[in-house]
C-alpha cells in the first residue's frame, strides 16, 4: 500500500519536474548543436558560443539591459523602502487602506496597459516641457522603476510589519533622532529584505519585454527586445547559447544563495544551543 502510494507520488513528481525542466534542458542541449538548423542534431560543437561573443548587437543589448536593471533596482529600492516604511509605520492616517491598495495595483495591472499609459505620459511630457526628449534609456528606466517599485514596496512592508517597533522606540529613548534611528537601526535590520527587493527589481527589469517595447526608442534595444526580434526572423543557435549562459548564471545564483542561507541558519542554531548550554 505504502509502496504503491510512493510509486504514485514519484511518478507525479517526475511529470511535474519534466514539465518544468525539459524545455530548458532541450535548449541547453541544442545550444551545443553543430547545425545551423536548430531542430536538427548534427553533432557536438561550441561554435555558437564563440559566435555569440562576436555578436556586437547582442553584447551591447546585454550591457544596456544590465545598466537599466541595476539603475532600476536601486531606484525602486529607494522609493519602495520609503513607501513601505510609510505604509507600515504611520498606522492610523486617513486613506491608508486606499494607499496600500494603490501601491499594489501595478502588481495585477496588465503590462500592456502599464506600457501604453507610460508611453502616453512620456509623449505628453515631451510636448509640454520637452523632457524626456524622445524614447530611450531614460524612459525605459523610469517605466521599469514605476512597476518594480510596487514589488519592492510589498517586500519591504511585510518585513517592516514583522519588525518589533520597540527596537526603534528603544533607540529613540536612548537619544537617537528619528532619521538616525532609521539609518542605524531600521535599515541594517531590514537589509536582507532590501537586498531581496533589489534582486527582485533587477530580475523584473532584466527580462521585461512588454513595457520596454512601448517606451524604448531607436538605438535603445534591451536584450529581451533584441532576442524577441531575432527570434521572429527565425531561431538562431547563438540565441540558445546566450539563453544557456543566462540559465547557468541564474542557477549558480540560486544555489549560492541557498547554501549561504542554510549556513547562516545552522550557525544561528549552534549559537542558540551554545547560549542555552551556558545559561545563567
Amino acid at each position: 500500500m505504502i509502496g504503491r502510494r510512493s510509486f504514485l507520488i514519484t511518478t507525479l513528481m517526475s511529470f511535474g519536474f519534466a514539465f518544468l525542466y525539459i524545455p530548458i534542458l532541450s535548449l541547453i542541449v541544442y545550444s551545443f548543436n553543430e547545425s545551423r538548423l536548430v531542430t536538427v542534431w548534427a553533432g557536438f560543437s561550441t561554435k555558437w558560443y564563440a559566435e555569440l561573443f562576436q555578436n556586437e548587437q547582442l553584447l551591447n543589448a546585454a550591457k544596456l539591459s544590465l545598466e537599466v536593471a541595476a539603475i532600476n533596482a536601486t531606484g525602486a529600492v529607494i522609493l519602495g523602502t520609503l513607501a513601505g516604511f510609510a505604509l507600515s509605520r504611520f498606522r492610523r492616517f486617513r486613506g491608508r487602506t486606499l494607499m496600500t491598495g494603490m501601491t499594489s495595483a501595478p502588481l495585477v495591472m496588465p503590462e500592456v496597459i502599464t506600457g501604453l499609459s507610460m508611453l502616453l505620459l512620456f509623449v505628453a511630457m515631451e510636448q509640454a516641457f520637452g523632457w524626456p526628449a524622445g524614447r530611450g534609456v531614460t524612459t525605459i528606466t523610469i517605466a521599469h522603476i514605476t512597476f518594480s517599485m510596487a514589488y519592492v514596496t510589498v517586500v519591504i512592508q511585510s518585513r517592516l510589519a514583522s519588525l518589533d517597533v520597540s527596537l526603534e522606540e528603544a533607540a529613540m529613548d536612548l537619544g537617537a533622532r528619528p532619521w538616525k534611528v532609521f539609518m542605524v537601526i531600521t535599515l541594517p535590520i531590514i537589509f536582507p529584505a532590501i537586498l531581496a527587493g533589489w534582486l527582485l527589481a533587477f530580475t523584473l527589469s532584466w527580462d521585461d519585454l512588454v513595457i520596454t517595447s512601448f517606451v524604448s526608442g531607436p538605438g535603445s534595444s534591451t536584450l529581451p527586445i533584441v532576442i524577441f526580434s531575432k527570434v521572429r526572423l527565425g531561431v538562431s543557435p547563438d540565441i540558445n547559447a546566450l539563453a544557456t549562459i543566462m540559465v547557468g548564471i541564474v542557477a549558480i545564483g540560486v544555489v549560492a544563495t541557498g547554501l549561504y542561507l542554510q549556513h547562516q541558519e545552522r550557525r544561528r542554531e549552534r549559537d542558540v544551543q551554545a547560549a542555552l548550554a551556558n545559561h545563567g
Binding site: 533607540a171 529613540m172 529613548d173 544561528r268 545559561h279
Partner: protein, 403 residues
C-alpha cells in the same frame, strides 16, 4: 500557579528569609516622602487622560512619585498602565492633562530629549549589534569621547555581571542574560528616572526571584527612581516602595505594599491583590471605635474593631484574608461574632501551606490557608475532607469596604 498565594507570608518572615532581609535594609523605607507634606514630588502627573479614538486608555489620572522610589503600576492587561508608562517615556502624548518630571513640563518633548530611559518588555536589544555596542548606543548618541564610552560600558557590564559576554550578539544569550543587557543599556546613561515595562515577565520563576533582588540592589546603589509596570502582584510586592493599582484606565488605590494588602479601600483591590473572602452585608452597629456587619451569607455578624465611614443602610462588603482565619476542631469560645462552623470540602496541599475550602451552613464556601508548621506525614493527625471544623478570626482582621 493556579491558586494565588498570599504574598505577605513571605514578607513577614519565616518562609523566605532573603525577602525580609532585603526589605529591611531598603533606606527609603524609613523616609516615606509621600507622608511628608513638604516633600517635592519628582514626577507629577496631573489629571492625565489618553484617548485612542473612542477608547479611553488612561482616565483622569493624578499621581505624585518621589525621588528614589520604586513605584509599581499594578493592573491586569489593558488597564492602561503601559500607556501611562509610555506617556512618561514620551512615546504617547496625553490627550489632556500635564506631566512634569523634576519640575519641567514634558508636553511636546520627544523621547530623545527626556531625562528618562526605558527597559522594554521585549528587551528590544538591537539584533545586529553586540552586547557592548548595545550598551554603548545611548552614550554614542550623546557624542561622548570614545575612551569614556568604553569605560562606562565596561563598568556597566561589570555591574550586571556580563563582562565576559561583551562580544556576543543578543541571539547568543539566554533570557536572563538578555534581561541584564537591557537593564545595563537603559542604565548606562545614568537617567534620573528608569521606566521598566514588565521587567521580569519573560524569565522563569527561579530566575525571576533572584533578579528581583538584584534589581532592588542596583536601584539602591545608583539611587535611580524606578517606575515599574507589572501585572504580577508578587513582583509588585517585592519590588515596590509604593504600588498604584489600576483598572480601566483609573488609579484605584495608591499605597505601600502592606497598605494595599492589609487595608484595601475597595472590593476590586481586595480581590485583585492576594486572595480574599468577600461577604456582602449591612451595618447593624456603627460606632466610632467598632462596627458590626450582618452578612446573610456568613449566617452571622462580623465584629470589626475600627470605625467605618459609610452611610447607614448602605450595602458594604467585608473582606477577610484566608490566612487570617484560624481553623480548628474545637469551638473557639462561647459563641457570638467572628466565628462560624463548617465542613471541609476541598484541601489543596501546597507544601509550605495548605488551602482549605470550608462550606458554611449557609452553603457559602470560605477559603482558609494555614502554614504547615508541622511535617505533614502519616503520624500527623491532619484535618481531612468532610470534617467538621470551627473557623474564627480576630476583630482587627476583617476590612469593611463600601465600593
Amino acid at each position: 500557579m493556579s491558586i494565588p498565594l498570599p504574598v505577605h507570608v513571605g514578607r513577614q518572615g519565616e518562609s523566605c528569609e532573603g525577602v525580609a532581609g532585603m526589605a529591611e535594609t531598603r533606606p527609603d523605607k524609613k523616609l516615606e516622602p509621600w507622608r511628608d507634606r513638604d516633600a517635592k514630588p519628582y514626577i507629577r502627573i496631573e489629571r492625565v487622560t489618553k484617548n485612542f479614538g473612542d477608547f479611553t486608555a488612561v482616565d483622569d489620572v493624578s499621581l505624585d512619585i518621589y525621588r528614589g522610589e520604586i513605584f509599581c503600576l499594578l493592573g491586569a492587561s489593558g488597564c492602561g498602565k503601559t500607556t501611562l508608562l509610555r506617556m512618561l517615556a514620551g512615546f504617547e502624548e496625553p490627550t489632556s492633562g500635564r506631566i512634569s518630571i523634576d519640575g519641567a513640563d514634558m508636553a511636546g518633548i520627544p523621547p530623545y530629549r527626556r531625562p528618562v530611559n526605558m527597559m522594554f518588555q521585549s528587551y528590544a536589544l538591537f539584533p545586529h549589534m553586540t552586547v557592548e555596542q548595545n550598551v554603548a548606543f545611548g552614550l554614542k548618541q550623546d557624542g561622548l569621547p570614545k575612551g569614556e564610552i568604553r569605560d562606562r560600558v565596561a563598568a556597566m557590564l561589570e555591574l550586571v555581571k556580563l563582562t565576559a559576554l561583551g562580544g556576543r550578539k543578543p541571539h547568543q544569550l539566554s533570557g536572563g542574560q538578555r534581561q541584564r543587557v537591557a537593564l545595563a543599556r537603559s542604565l548606562v546613561k545614568q537617567p534620573k528616572l528608569l521606566l521598566l515595562d514588565e521587567p521580569l515577565g519573560a524569565l522563569d520563576r527561579k530566575l525571576r526571584e533572584h533578579t528581583q533582588f538584584e534589581l532592588v540592589n542596583i536601584q539602591e546603589k545608583l539611587g535611580v527612581t524606578f517606575v515599574v509596570v507589572t501585572h504580577d502582584q508578587e513582583e509588585a510586592m517585592t519590588l515596590a516602595s509604593r504600588i498604584g493599582v489600576m483598572d480601566h484606565g483609573e488609579i484605584i488605590q495608591v499605597g505601600t505594599p502592606s497598605d494595599i494588602y492589609e487595608y484595601p479601600t475597595s472590593k476590586f483591590v481586595a480581590d485583585f491583590v492576594g486572595s480574599v473572602n468577600l461577604f456582602e452585608g449591612h451595618l447593624v452597629e456603627d460606632e466610632p471605635d467598632h462596627v458590626r456587619v450582618e452578612c446573610p451569607e456568613l449566617g452571622g455578624c462580623f465584629y470589626v474593631d475600627h470605625g467605618v465611614s459609610a452611610p447607614p443602610e448602605a450595602t458594604v462588603w467585608v473582606a477577610l484574608r484566608p490566612e487570617k482565619v484560624f481553623i480548628s476542631r474545637e469551638s473557639p469560645g462561647p459563641g457570638g461574632d467572628n466565628q462560624v462552623s463548617g465542613v471541609i470540602k476541598e484541601i489543596a496541599y501546597l507544601g509550605d501551606l495548605s488551602v482549605y475550602l470550608v462550606q458554611l451552613p449557609t452553603g457559602r464556601m470560605l477559603r482558609v490557608t494555614r502554614p504547615n508548621v508541622r511535617r505533614q506525614d502519616a503520624a500527623f493527625d491532619r484535618l481531612t475532607w468532610d470534617e467538621n471544623v470551627w473557623l474564627s478570626w480576630e476583630a482587627s482582621s476583617p476590612v469593611v469596604v463600601t465600593q
